[in-house]
Structure formats: C-alpha cells, structure tokens
Symmetry: C2
Subunit: 422 residues, 2 copies
C-alpha cells in the first residue's frame, strides 16, 4: 500500500483513564514511536470497557485511520472484555489456543511459584482469525486483525509489555507493510520568555514557512518549546529544510534558546557540564529530591551529578550541610542567609565544581505572614560566585516544587553561560 500519509489511531480501553486513576502514558509513548516511523496519529481515544462503545469506537476509527492500535482490557478478570469484543467485531468463528503463549504462561507461574488457574490458561485463547503477537513478558498475547485494508492491533495495557510488543513486533510489521511518507520534527527549547514574545520575534520567519512545515509553540512552566514539523516524501530534503529554519529561529532569539533539540532543561545542563568536565551536587529542601530525580533519570549523568543532600529537617541542614544553628534561628530555613550556607555546604562538603540549593515553603501549609506559601530561595554557586534569588510562586505544592526545579536549572544555566564568557 502506497499512500501519502499513513494515519494511526490509538484506542485505550478501561475505566482507569476515564476516572483519572491513571494517566495515559502508554499513548504518549506509542505516539512518539509511530511519529518516528512517519505515521501520523490522527486521534487518541479513551473509552470504557463497554461492548457497544468499543464496537462504535472501532468502527469510527476504521473510517479515519489505516492502523488502529488498541490497548488494555486483556486481563484475566471479568471487567476485561476487549478480546471477546474483537472476536465479535472481526466476525471470528471460533477460539484457538496459542501454544507458545500457553508455554509462556506456564513458565511465568512456575517462576513465581504461583498456582496456575484456569483463568490464566484462558489467556492463551484468541479468536481464530487473528495473528498472534506473542508476548514474552506477560500472560496476555497481542493480536493482529486485518479488515478492509486496515490493520487492528490489540496490545496489553501493562506499559513494559506494550512497549516490548511494539518494539519487537508491531513497528517492524507496520514499517514493512506500509510505504511511509516522512515526518521530520525538530524542536528548540527556550527558557524565561513567553509564547507571545516569541511569536512576535518569529513573525516574519513564520510567515515565510512553506505550507508543509508547521511551527508549534509548546509552553510549560516558564519554558516554551518551538517545534517545526515537516511533512513530505524525501526525508533528507525535509531535514535539510527544517535544519535551516531551526538556525533562522535560533538566530532570531539568541538570548532565549538553550537547546536546538528536544531535551529537557536539566539535560542541557548535564551536556554542558559533561563537555567541560564539571561536577555538580545539590542541597534540596522543599524540592525534596525532585531536582536530583530529574538529573538522575538521564543515563550517564553520573559523570556530572555526584549526589547531594535532601535536608528536609533543620537538623540535617546543620549536620550534613553545616548550616549554622544561629542562621536558622535568626533568619529561618527559608532565607537568603540559609540558602547561601546550604549551597556553600554542598559545594565544600560534597566537593563539586558547582552546587544548587533550594529551600522554600511548598505548601499547602507552613506559610507565615512575611513568608507566604510559595516563597522559595534558590542558590547556585561555584568556587568564585554565588547567585541567590527569592521567588514567590503560588499555593499549589506540586507546582511549587516543579517551578523551583525549573528556576534552579535556569539560574545554573545562566551561571554556566556567564562562566564561559568570563
């Protein structure tokens, strides 16, 4: 099948997403992978495990898309009805047992010494007209159905099982069966300015963009990512063209962009510090590990990030970071004096080139008249220079933590940049 644009839809089945008990990270992951292969995701739909609703969603998706990927509802329990609904939708005449799946099920239960129940064995039964996508990490196999030139794929909702099946079975099948057009995305990360400011600076470039290139503004917590997406047949040509526009955009906002690729701000910092052979430690109070976690999610961070302290209590601020008890008594834990001692404590005690310290009132409680919830002191330092700044955010705990982290990264980025110029 040769087509200009191959469209996919993702349907997730189950109440979990509709009642908000889980966030749909599966679809985001699949969307990224499908886009990489040049397949556009037309729609992502979450529906409940209700037979009529599932049948309708299948029929709607079949009208719009070439590939329909369905996740969830494959468990062994009563609320899981995806398999029997597919049996009905694709007009299967009988069930077949997939022996390879049955062997996997038996192995899994043997490994965990768990009793193998009849409901577990039934996981190996599939509609006779499907191609089985053997799931070697779990008990629910994937299934592939063909109907009117469209491909339907059913995958388990457990993230690592879904990912494994996508990587090993689904994506190879799709890319071999469809002759795909190309999509090229590139992103510039900006920090510290708003969407409208950028749109104004980029107006003339945006007006020059050819029809097949789209510019999107993706704002998030004091950062805006600018994403160029280009659609066409010649991937090389698209890339050259997009690369040129990326350079134009960067040149139009020289003080605002921090990366010409789609990486988070803390990864920008890790890359700069790694290239300069610098080390970093942290002293986190109100962020409670969020900053460390952002760094350490990146493989290979250990050449830069040495670690640090989570000093939630004043006692630990004193014992690990050598913050003086008079300082805490006189100025309080959320103060310029304390943050300066915290960042120095990290720098000296953890023996790193740079350090970050954060102390604030994340809320929702703990505010005082002169220090309302959302008051946060952030310091970054190297041996020669310390920058400390006070922020007053809002009253949402998680948001205050995230904003503190982003602003700490931005301060450190500026310090690193100024050190380069000096």
């Amino acid at each position: 099948m040769i087509r200009d644009k191959i469209l996919a839809e993702i349907i997730t089945i189950g109440d979990e997403i509709l009642i908000g008990q889980i966030v749909d990270t599966n679809s985001a992951w699949m969307a990224v992978e499908l886009n990489k292969t040049g397949i556009s995701v037309k729609q992502i739909t979450s529906i409940s495990d209700d037979e009529q609703h599932i049948l309708q969603a299948f029929a709607d998706a079949e009208q719009r898309a070439d590939i329909i990927i369905v996740t969830g509802g494959l468990g062994p329990t009563k609320d899981d009805i995806t398999k029997k609904t597919m049996y009905q939708y694709f007009g299967a005449q009988s069930w077949k047992t997939d022996e390879e799946t049955l062997t996997i099920i038996e192995k899994i239960f043997a490994k965990y010494n768990a009793p193998l129940l009849e409901s577990n064995k039934l996981q190996a039964a599939v509609p006779s007209n499907c191609e089985v996508l053997v799931n070697d990490l779990g008990t629910a196999p994937g299934m592939l159905f063909r109907k009117s030139g469209k491909i339907f794929i059913s995958l388990p909702g457990v993230p690592y099982e879904m990912i494994n099946l996508m990587e090993r079975k689904v994506l190879p099948i799709i890319t071999s069966e469809f002759k795909l057009g190309s999509i090229v995305h590139r992103t510039i990360l900006t920090v510290g300015v708003g969407e409208s400011f950028l749109a104004d600076k980029l107006e003339s470039i945006e007006n020059q963009l050819p029809q097949h290139i789209k510019l999107a503004y993706l704002p998030k917590l004091g950062q805006v990512r600018l994403r160029l997406s280009s659609y066409g047949n010649n991937a090389e040509l698209l890339k050259t063209e997009v690369d040129a526009y990326i350079e134009k955009i960067a040149a139009a906002i020289p003080d605002n962009w921090v990366a010409k690729e789609d990486i988070p701000l803390e990864k920008v910092i890790l890359n700069i510090m790694q290239s300069r052979g610098l080390t970093l430690s942290v002293a986190e109070s109100c962020t409670g590990g969020a900053i460390s976690q952002l760094f350490t999610q990146h493989a290979g961070c250990s050449s830069v990030f040495m670690g640090g302290a989570i000093t939630y209590s004043n006692q630990l601020k004193a014992s690990i970071l050598d913050v003086k008890s008079e300082t805490l008594k006189t100025h309080g834990a959320v103060s310029e004096a304390t943050i300066n001692e915290m960042v120095t404590g990290a720098l000296v005690n953890f023996n790193t080139d740079y350090a970050i310290a954060v102390s604030g009132i994340a809320g929702p409680d703990g505010g005082q008249p002169d220090k309302p919830v959302g008051t946060v002191w952030i310091a970054v330092a190297n041996k020669n220079k310390t920058i400390a700044q006070k922020f007053v955010f809002g009253n949402k705990r998680q948001q205050n933590i995230e904003r503190s982290a982003v602003n700490a990264f931005h301060l450190l980025y500026k310090l690193l940049k100024s050190d380069k110029i000096d």
Copy 2:
C-alpha cells in the same frame, strides 16, 4: 435537567499529545473531579488542531454526552484554532471583547514588564454567543456554549489555568445545573501478589456483587488496586453498601492489602509512621532522589521524613554515609556489605528511627557479568533490625528506578508491620 446518569466527554486539541510530546495529565485531573461530582466520563479524545476534525469530534461528542469539555488551542499563535472553530460550530454572528479579560491581560503584561502585542489583546475577543469564564491566571478566557440542551466548555490547556477555571467556575455551574446521580468509588491497595491470585481469592465475593457495583483490578508495578464503583441515586446507601464489600474483600486477602483507600504505598508508610511518632531517612544511590520525591510530594510528610543523602558517587557514600572504602573496594557499590553500611549510615548520621538504602545498576549501561543491569540491593533498618534484599529487575532505567522504590516501600512496610506485632 434530571437524569439517571450525566455523561461528560473531554476533548483535547493540539498536536502535543498526538505526537507524544506531552502526556495528557489534564484529562486525568478533570476525570477525577467530574467523577467526584457524580458525572461519568464517557470518552476522552485527543485530536489535532485541524478544523474539520474538531467539528466532527464536537458533533460526535454531542451525540454521546451532556457536557463536553474542550481544552487547548486557545493560545495567541497561528496554530491555535479552537476559538474560531467554536465560533463556526455554534453559529456565532460576531465577536465581542470581554473587558474583564482585557484588563487581566493588561495587568499580566504590566507585571512582567512585557510588551503588550496586538495578538495578546485579541485573546480577549470571544464569539458573541458564549458566556465568558474569566481566567484570572492567564490571557485566554474560558468559554461556555449551550446547544440542544448540551453544554460545551472551552478551557485553556495550561494545567493551572484549567484547574483554576474548573474549580472556580465549571464545577459550580455543572453541579448547579444538573441534578446528579451518585457514583461511589472505593479502593483497596494490595502489594506483592498478582491480579489472577486476587481474582481467585475474591471469586465468590465478585459473584455476589449486585449489578450496580463493579470491581476493577488495576495492576501497577507489583501492586494491584481493587476498585469498587457503585452507581445509583442514594449516595449514603451506596456508600454503606460499598463499605461493607470493602470489608469483605479485605477479610478475604488479609495478608495482601495494605490500605483500604486510594493512596500510594509511600503514603501508607507515612501514615503508619506518623501515627507511631517515627522518623525516617534515606540513602539513595540508583534511585537518585525518586524515593525522597515520592515521600515529599505529600504535604505534611515533614513530621516523618527528615531527608537523607543522594550518594551517586562512591566518594559521597563514604563522606556522608561512612561507607568504608575497603567495603566499596572489596564488594563494590552494589553489594550486601555496602547496602548494610549505607542503611546504618543513614540511621546513625541522620538520627532517625528507620532508614531506607538503595544501591543498584539502573542501566542501560554499567552492568557487569556478575552484576547485570537491573541488579539492585535494598535495605531497610531500625535500631534493632536490618533487612537487606537483592533484586534483579530488567534493563529499562526508569522502570528499574520505579521498581526499586516500590520494593523499598514494601520491605519497609513489612518491617513496620513486624515491629508492631513483636
């Protein structure tokens, strides 16, 4: 309007979700809030900023639901077309400027000393037939349209603006206009056993459940949440009934449930320790702050969680936790000897009643023949007892971090439970 069941749909507009650049946390939050008021979410749909697709999605949703909430696509830039598409769908005749919104826009730009552009002022223009939901946190106002007895609401996609408008405007309007039936959800958290094991233990209870009560199994990383959902008109009665079934379920799996409410495992631990007046510290290596962050996301954790160390480097394991350099040299950082010294170091140096230590190879690199990627040592301790256990997970970094955290919590939970019994 009096109806047995009020249905809502959520439509998100914009490429970000469809290309997987962001995860749809907005819809999850809205779903939780709508469910709390007794409104069921029938479908969540993510579509691109394509006019025809938006119009079709509106028409489809109007067929199925009473309330349609649309987020995104309200920015000042060219790719934002939600407002003009709504203008068309609802047959508006003209635009009106919302003066209150214009004042807010002017204030926001004055506060940040940013130049007020024409595109920013245009944010205050709305279709003349909408009710404006003034957004005091941003420049894009919410809009409410009525059509054939259905309510359409458009909200900005910026999470805190959306949340603020939902809490202050949308939910009050909805609950006052619709006479809502009730939904009661209750959840039991289990750890360490699988879905099928639980389904087997609960089979007879599940068969007794009346038609209007549903039991769902929600598995995630070694935990399964069992959720009972009950639908009807008398909230008090539903609650009494669901409560009774929750007790029956708990009694059937006495060794497996850890909470009879929908809270995460680390919150179960915080609650137990808070009630016993106990304190906790951590020594995190491969989890890199993930454990601390899970604790500190909970307001009020500071009475239990004192903080700890992120000792990514061996140097910090030695200097902060007093791990002996011979131990590191002889056994390596990922070993029983090291983890025991780490947990003791945390307990003693941070002066807490309990401590958690984790050291492992999160991957994807750093594996050795005898210690493959995914090898993790976890220890929990109090003054009298240390439990150390080795785990071998897979080769996915983020998953290894999450599994390490969950298993650390499970070990600590078991230690706390045994201490109670002793």
